[in-house]
């Protein structure tokens, strides 16, 4: 028999326990304003394409100090290298000058170029060599973005010596792998060598190179790998090296790295090696975009039922979403969920807009963002798709503002009346294309954020690309295209296989860049606008590096590489160490001063 006193006590305990368990859930639900896109206000800038710095149109930008500029020497066939160099100059706020040959180049009386970048593959060595000697003698750095033909090299020993080549050992050599040494790119050392057959698919770097033997005064950053038992390290083919002369440094790239946009990072890293310090602006944004997230309609039900014993909405809610959340929690990513109301517009299954608020709520809890995807499998125009999706968004999203879109086909998206349906559209994410600049304006008010990696595949070139993009821009955008899950083409597309690969790749290869901020596309859009509008100058006065920045809103970031000393006091910003001599500078004022202190070596004196 329970006494009244005990009964009251037990009842109170039950109430308290229930309150404790339910209270947090209720509060979370009540306070979660999932139907409002917070980034609409918090990630807004007044910047548009008009404020963007472009290398070709560079003026001095109101600074007292002159702007550094690069001279590109390449023919009409050097399009890929030219694009990379131009983008690099734009991103690093350098001026850009171009000529086909140095034969007719007149050394300016005023400011000399900071660096000459030559596409060696199309250069006339005999004609250009004297001018290159002259320029390097005057302290202009030289980057051979590609090497001349081996016969040209063999017939010009003087030029070989100029580039630090002792002799040409062999015309071509097939490498076992490539060794990227620490301290060059952000992220550290990498060995791109396949040891097992399973890994053979990963090797997609250029494996056949000219075999040059280097002389003294050189430093190798990337080395081709041969059989260690047969060759000494010193004899192995150099892929990227530096030759120091009295006044300038000469960099040679014995591969096609600078033909890809990740070559941006190589150019920045080379400049960082050439000077005692290097500062260049970065976006500081790591995005994870889940594209074509079609959890709302029963597309491809037959196949999905046979594979997962559930239809698409249940599959996404019960299987895919928890896996994604697991990755998000492990990486700290801010997910940008690009909703696709449906992929098949001809199957008669309409999307359930009632599911949308649930994902809005979940995404909002994880500091994520919801956008819209432009993908579909039906033969329907983009305009029709937008029209049919409009009601879905009206019913499901309510007053939630869509700021970002994912468009696999950028040309199609450019022609579509996107702003009619998404009037506050700010940014468009698109698929990976290594030959185009990763960030830019697609229209006056809309930025473009190209994918820098796809989560499902990670060959060696993709790894190198991450390091290149991170070094140059501090930016990455991993795009997971879920259309392959809804419409699998082979076993690799099955979610149980895909999730393992995605999880491995994302959780592993981005660890070195944890210092960079995790952002949604709308957040990164704001940072990209500020980054593109940025202009700056640096100078060293004694033991201080001074950074002068033009006016900016909020905060901008720079990557600092110090080859001498360690940073001491920083005025106007804060520094975070990233390893390998790299630091991330968060500038909050237009004048930043970094004091250098010599490394305290003498513990005993």
């Amino acid at each position: 028999m329970v006494s009244r006193r005990n009964f009251v006590t037990i009842t109170l305990m039950v109430i308290i326990i229930m309150f404790m368990f339910l209270f947090t859930g209720v509060i979370k639900q009540e306070l979660n304003e999932y139907d409002v896109n917070n980034f609409e206000e918090t990630a807004r800038t007044g910047l548009d394409e008009g404020s963007m710095f472009r290398a070709e149109e560079a003026d001095n930008g109101g600074f007292d100090l002159p702007r550094e500029y690069a001279l590109f020497v390449g023919s009409k066939y050097s399009e890929e290298v030219r694009d990379v160099v131009k983008a690099w100059c734009t991103y690093t706020k350098r001026g850009y000058v171009e000529c086909e040959s140095l034969k007719d180049y007149e050394i300016p009386r005023g400011k000399l170029p900071e660096v000459v970048i030559v596409d060696g593959q199309y250069m006339d060595v005999e004609a250009d060599f004297p001018m290159l000697e002259e320029l390097t003698g005057r302290g202009v750095h030289l980057i051979m973005a590609r090497m001349p033909h081996h016969l040209t090299m063999a017939s010009n020993p003087g030029f070989c010596e100029f580039l630090g080549i002792r002799n040409v050992r062999r015309r071509e050599i097939l490498l076992n792998g490539v060794h990227l040494f620490e301290g060059f790119l952000l992220g550290g050392e990498r060995i791109y060598e396949t040891e097992t057959d399973d890994e053979s698919g990963l090797q997609d770097l250029e494996m056949v190179v000219h075999w040059y033997m280097l002389g003294s005064g050189t430093k190798t950053y990337i080395m081709g790998m041969l059989d260690e038992n047969e060759y000494k390290n010193e004899d192995m083919p150099a892929v990227l090296w530096r030759k120091s002369t009295a006044n300038a440094d000469i960099f040679c790239v014995n591969a096609n790295y600078i033909t890809n946009m990740y070559g941006l990072g190589f150019l920045s890293a080379m400049m960082a090696e050439a000077e005692t310090y290097e500062i260049h602006p970065v976006v500081n944004a790591q995005c994870m975009t889940v594209a074509e997230f079609s959890a709302f309609a029963e597309d491809n039900s037959e196949e999905l039922m046979s594979l997962y014993s559930s239809r698409q909405p249940a599959l996404y809610e019960g299987v895919i979403w928890p896996s994604l959340i697991s990755i998000v929690e492990r990486t700290g990513a801010h997910i940008t969920l690009m909703a696709a109301p449906q992929l098949d517009y001809e199957d008669g299954n309409e999307p359930d807009s009632g599911l949308f608020p649930r994902y809005m709520s979940l995404v909002n809890e994880g500091h994520g963002e919801i956008g819209a995807s432009m993908g579909r499998v039906s033969e329907i125009s983009l305009e029709d798709k937008l029209a049919r999706d409009a009601s879905f968004y009206e019913e499901g999203a309510g007053k939630y503002t869509i700021l970002s879109l994912y468009a696999g086909d950028l040309e199609e998206a450019a022609e579509a009346p996107l702003t009619d349906y998404f009037p506050k559209l700010r940014t468009i994410a698109t698929a990976l294309d290594g030959t185009k600049p990763p960030i830019d304006y697609i229209s006056r008010d809309v930025t473009l954020q190209r994918a820098t990696a796809i989560g499902r595949e990670h060959p060696y070139s993709a790894n190198l690309a991450i390091m290149g993009y991170e070094t140059a821009l501090g930016y990455s955008n991993i795009v997971l295209d879920m259309k392959d899950v809804s419409y699998p083409r082979n076993e690799k597309d099955y979610w149980q296989n895909l999730t393992r690969v995605i999880s491995q790749n994302i959780c592993t290869y981005w660890q070195d860049f944890e210092v960079f901020s995790q952002t949604t596309l709308a957040e990164s859009d704001a940072r990209i606008r500020r980054f593109l509008a940025l202009d700056y100058r640096t100078e060293q006065k004694g033991d201080q590096i001074l950074l002068h920045i033009n006016d900016f809103e909020d905060t901008v970031w720079f990557l600092v590489k110090l080859n001498w000393g360690e940073p001491g006091e920083v005025q106007g910003g804060t520094l975070q160490e990233m390893g390998g001599g790299y630091y991330l500078l968060e500038a909050t004022e237009t004048e930043v001063a970094i004091s250098l202190v010599s490394v305290e070596l003498e513990y005993y004196y």
């Binding site: 040494f181 003294s216 390290n233 120091s244 009295a246 001498w564 513990y603 005993y604």
Partner: protein, 847 residues
Amino acid sequence: MSMQMLTILQLTGILAAYLGMTVLLPAFVFYRKVSEERFCVRFMIYLVIGNVYLMNMVMVLQLLHISNRFTLILGTILPVLWAMARVHNVTVKDGILGAARSVNSFLSGTMGGRLLLSKIMRFIGRCLKAGLLRLLRSIRKNFFDWGFTAGCIVAILWLYGSNLIWNMGYCTSDIPVHNYWINAMSRNEMFIAGVYPHGFHSMMYYLHEVFGFRTFELLRVFCLVQNVLVHMTLLAFLKVCCRTKYSPYIAMIMYILANIWNRDTFTRYFSTLPQEFGMIFILPSICFLYAFLEDRARENRAKGWKQHSTRYLLFFALSFSATLAAHFYNTMIAGIFCVGVAMGFMGKVFRREYFGRIMLAGILSIVLAVMPMAVAFAMGRPLEGSLRWGMSIIAGPKEESGDTDQGQGSSAAEGTGQSAGTQAVTGDTGQSAGTGQAVTGGTGQGQGSSGTGGTQAVTGSTGQPTDTQAVTGDTGQSAGTLPQQDGNPSGGMQGTPEGAAIQENTPPPEPKIPLKVRMKFWVNEKWKKTVNLVRGLRDTVQLRIMNRISAETVAAVLFVTAALSVLGLLGLTARKTRHYGCILLSAGFCLLFLYVVLMAVWFGIPALMDQTRCSIYLAYLMSAAVALTADALSGLVLGKITTPFLSDMISLAGGGMMAFVIVWGGIYKMPLSITALESNDAITCLTNILRDNPRYQFTVCSANDELRMVEDYGYHYEVITFLQAMEGERQEEYLTIPTPKVYFFIEKIPIDYTMPYEGSGRKVSEVGAYRPLPYGSGLSVYKGPNRYTVMSKMYYWALAFKKMYPNEMRVYYETDAFICYEVEQNPYRLFDFSIDYGYNSYSMTDE
């Protein structure tokens, strides 16, 4: 932290570790067994036991190739436990069972951790308390003794320790060789350069391995520790021998403070060398022999080995073996002293109940010391250079006889002096870089070529030391008297061709000389020779040992030491003082024999030891002799008419007077600054490098001593090899150094490595860099102007290389006279250090 402070901390640590293992630990174990002995005897017992055990344990483990920190600690702890069990009459089994019970009760929870800890702490507290109380009692009882002893130690630390602060490099060039040998022991490669007494090296290795002191730091600092002990054993010896309380301090004041000694007699104390380490054990061995002779007399011819006196014999054997284990010269001195003891105690030593025991102990001690070397020799290790020389001395008469005979007149034409035993070893090892040869001139004048050891050896059957000749030149006779020592009255004639011609002709019959005339002539001759000998001795002692005082004062000191024997004879007259008299006599004989060794050339006997070395020991023992004489005067002579207390006071007054004279006369020593063979900057830089880098991840490219200093921690590259690789035919296609970091030591003002030269002290310059690179072997390329050339070239190489690699090469350490560059390179892709720096024959175009 300043290097000075670091040196002091290192010294403190090494002193604590060494004394802890060789004095405190044996004291902890054996105190109960020897508690009835006087403190000074106990001190020597502990010191000998500790040193001999550790040295031999290391050598045994090394021969078994199982020497490492674990076995060394085990080899220390287990015997300690065993010995403690024996001393405390507990069987080992009981001890183990007791320990097991404690462990069991701890593990089973019967005894808690706190209880166990408090038990241990209480035990330690009890021991410390007991020790401290004893110490305090002793200080209260012997306040002046403790005060004087502390004063002596402070004086030693000040006089000999200051140099450690001022000059941090090795002060003698053979220390790197010892460093090398000790380093090899870390790899269980004892006797790496051949069989050689390794007692000293074993002790250094033990301290390095067990306590983690770096070998080069030990070799830098340990000299002061051993120096303190050399002096303390002298004090302990005198405390045992003297009848009065304060006479020993006369010797200490004279030896430590008086500025009367030739620098050569004590400059080696500034270096950590085996000979000086071995000096610690000379006087304890004699002291134990005295104790045995005294104790045995009380045993009334008791038979069997289980007698009280046997322990002294054991300690004598141990300390005698320690002298041999450390350095052969110490054994020679200890042996000479033993002969002196035999002479002084002639009445006892040759009796059956003494002689057999002493001989057996002596033989066993030699066997103990020689055994490790013999085993290694049997295992195929060759003899080290010094030992080959030692063997040649032993085998000398065979080779020398011919020469000596020739020199003594069988062939007068050749009788101008042949070399006899002409090879001497300089330094301790004689191994380093072809050093150490002494050549006797055919004209009878010996000239020792100074090797790296910076010592001279003068030998010769009929030769005369140049120095001595120069000094005695004023007598006008000394040079001419030498041939007369052969017993031929014709003197100088014998050594000339004319003399030979006369000998070949039939001599006319000599007229009969009256006996009285012959006697007078004979006496005159002998007198003249004796006077010459005494003058020669005085001059040699003045030159070699006491070159800062007048000849008359030297004569007075010699007289004082000679008075020892007279006072000894006086002591023999009374039964009560007979043992004391024998001690005095034996010390007197010892000095006499040492004078003979010093004057070996005069006597025409093979020089067992060069004069410089001999003078070190003589200075050491002459101080003792002066103290013994003073003690005999105050204790023996005045003691007959005064009370013991008054005698003590007289001895105290003697000591005070000695101190007063030294201070009043201004002849007190001041700390010396010994030129080191490596700059302080280099040592400081190296210490930082060792601290900053993990093992074997760096290379030091420098001129010399760092080679052995970094051996166990990193790699070393010779500067000369480095430069040669960029020169002419020796030029290498690639000059790589395969470590992530490479440090280049460059002297902007090159030091004078053992020899100054014209232009010493100037900065490196292009002029020096333009000079051709010196080619040669060993250290010659780093001496004199060669060093200037080498450093100039290195300096300009570094400037050129830094231009090529501004971000990879940086200044690591710099002062006005020294600069160290650090090059950080990728170990997978090494830099080619061979460059055209403008002052080499290398050129890209030529190639």
